[in-house]
Amino acid sequence: MRKISTPYLLLLPGVAFLFTFFILPIINLAQTSTQTPVGGGDTGEFEQTLRFSNYLDAFLENKEQFGRSFVYATIATLLALAIAYPLAYAIALKGGKLKNFMLILVIAPFFTSFLLRTVAWKQILGEEGFVVPTLRTIGIISDSTTLTSTSFAVVMGMTYNFLPFMTLPLYASIDRIDPRTLEASGDLYANGFTTFRRVTLPLSMPGVVAGTLLTFIPAAGDYVNAAILGSPNTKMIGNVIESRYLKIVDYPTAAALSFTLMIVILILVTVYVRKAGTEELV
């Protein structure tokens, strides 16, 4: 009998799991996406007719939500990057003995439910929270302006919820930088800003790429933030898919939208990784 090598045995549980809970559903989804309702059948009864124009119909009908998803996800990712980079930098390079404690604080939000925290944001941004009255007092927003049910609230919610996914990979890659290379840069006539641009930032690029992907991908497909913090005017593609599946029971459209979303994200990510990976940043 041929000996099966250990690495393959170690792969087995993962492969079996992914096959059952990822590959099979994907195939099922692909099949569903080209089905059409059974003539005269009940709600939820579909037959395979290989109607590929389901995709075009679904896309054209929801262009706006698609666009909004990518705009929101992009803004949330950039905001998260802007907040997380200095944070990760400070923890990695100036954290000292408090490093681990600060990292725990970064992931502490995970100890409570994602949903609960998003509901809490609704309170924070609501009329009864302290943010709106404060902003009104300083005159940043007018008395008639509210923050809930706005794109601002949705983007802020997404930024907050995905911040740890941005912070942790950034921390990991900044922490790996040998502080002596930063000293060497200073020694070689680069001031603080030049050192950041020529040494720190390029060396932390793996973290930037990983963090933006881990934020952008789930953000683009997210529907919880838009559902809780938004309004019908801030609907994202995730919300459309959710309602097509669970409320309207239009499985083929939901499946076609899911596939379209997946493919668009895949293309964007590929282009992005290629660019970030090969571009000489110096």
Binding site: D178, R180, T181, E183, A184, S185, G186, D187, L188, Y189, A190, N191, T194, R198, V199, P202, L203, L281, V282
Partner: protein
């Protein structure tokens, strides 16, 4: 573009330099002049303050007290990137994301130098690695990285080049080769090199002048031969090579020499080689200066009788003996195997002798073991 780096040059002058971290004083009131164009070594065990001194010169640490001058310019608080000083870091600290070419070009580009290509090519030729220009640092061996780190610093033609344990990560054979090469490159480019090391052999091979540091202060400064032949303190005598220190009392004078009584036997010591402050003295003799002779063989110079060979180690070029003297002290004797005479064997009764000019004198109240318990080879990096 960054603020212009200053263009000072000349001797490096450290004046009453002190660096404290809380209660701990790393560098203690250190004053020193390093002449332009010299190869200067700061030598000392781990924690003696040599690296802190180097970092203050580089601008990576700010002195608590004191000043640093380059020529007539005070650079005590000048930012590192404005100092005409470059460093070869301990673990090279090459930029992993840049090619070798760009690593070397880094300093030139920051200063807006015009002909980067020519300068980089020239320095790559100097370190004999022109074919590696397009590689990344991780694709190079330790010895190659070391040379690139050197090239990256000297390409800027700084007024001062600092080397922080530059050969510490290399194996012994490569280290020997690089010592000779570094010395050659220093002569070739004519820059001032300040070299920090805990390896006395490395310091002696390369430096014109060595400052031996201990506990934040300079114990003694001089040429390698000065320090070896005429150490001022027990620390220097033991840290730089090995020494036999024999307790004695100055009992009289004979012209330019002291007569020293060591456990009832008389030896002589030149007055100008004595650092004793009163009659109490340690007579110091390097192990290779001793000669061993069988009882009854005529000998000249200083003679100590009554030795008993305790141990013999034959190591090829020389034989090392442990000789126990009547007062219980074991003396170390290195004999060159160059006279065709069979080595002495264990338990032989012998006399030992040496030329009086090789004797040096240390204060009798010193700790005779100072500096000997630190084995430089086993020390970790600071």
């Amino acid at each position: 573009m960054t603020k212009e780096s200053i263009s000072a040059k000349g001797d490096l002058r450290l004046t009453r330099l002190t660096k404290s971290y809380g209660d701990f004083t790393a560098v203690d009131d250190l004053s020193l002049v390093i002449p332009e164009g010299s190869f200067f070594a700061l030598l000392g065990p781990s924690g003696c303050g040599k690296t802190t001194t180097l970092r203050m010169i580089a601008g990576l640490e700010e002195p608590t007290v004191g000043s640093i001058h380059l020529g007539t310019t005070d650079i005590t608080t000048t930012k590192p990137y404005q100092r005409p000083i470059n460093t070869v870091f301990q673990n090279y600290a090459l930029f992993p994301h840049l090619t070798i070419f760009e690593n070397i070009a880094f300093g030139l580009r920051r200063r807006g130098i015009k002909d980067v290509d020519a300068a980089v090519t020239k320095v790559l030729d100097l370190v004999e690695l022109p074919h590696l220009a397009q590689r990344k640092p991780t694709q190079l061996s330790g010895g190659q990285q070391q040379r690139i780190a050197l090239a990256r610093a000297i390409v800027n033609r700084p007024a001062l080049l600092l080397l922080d344990e530059p050969l510490g990560a290399l194996d012994l054979k490569l280290r020997r080769q690089m010592q000779i090469e570094l010395k050659w490159i220093q002569k070739e480019v004519g820059l001032t090199f300040v070299h920090v090391t805990h390896d006395q052999e490395e310091a002696m091979t390369m430096a014109d002048t060595i400052a031996v540091m201990n506990e934040g202060q300079i114990e003694q400064m001089g040429s390698p031969a000065d320090l070896y032949d005429n150490p001022k303190t027990a620390f220097v005598a033991n840290f730089l090579g090995q020494s036999n220190l024999i307790k004695g009392t100055i009992s009289g004078n004979d012209g330019d020499s002291h007569i020293v009584d060591v456990f009832g036997q008389k030896i002589s010591l030149q007055k100008n080689r004595s650092h004793a402050v009163d009659n109490s003295i340690y007579a110091g003799i390097r192990p290779e200066k001793f000669r061993i002779s069988r009882l009854g063989t005529p000998t000249s110079g200083n003679i100590l009788t009554g030795g008993h060979i305790e141990d013999v180690s034959y190591i090829g070029v020389s034989t090392q003996y442990q000789v126990e003297m009547p007062w219980g002290q074991e003396l170390m004797v290195f004999e060159q195997n160059d006279d065709g005479v069979a080595p002495f064997s264990k338990d032989e009764e012998v006399n030992i002798s040496w030329e009086p000019i090789f004797t040096f004198g240390l204060r009798g109240d010193e700790d005779a073991t100072a500096g000997s318990e630190v084995n430089p080879e086993e020390l970790d990096e600071e």
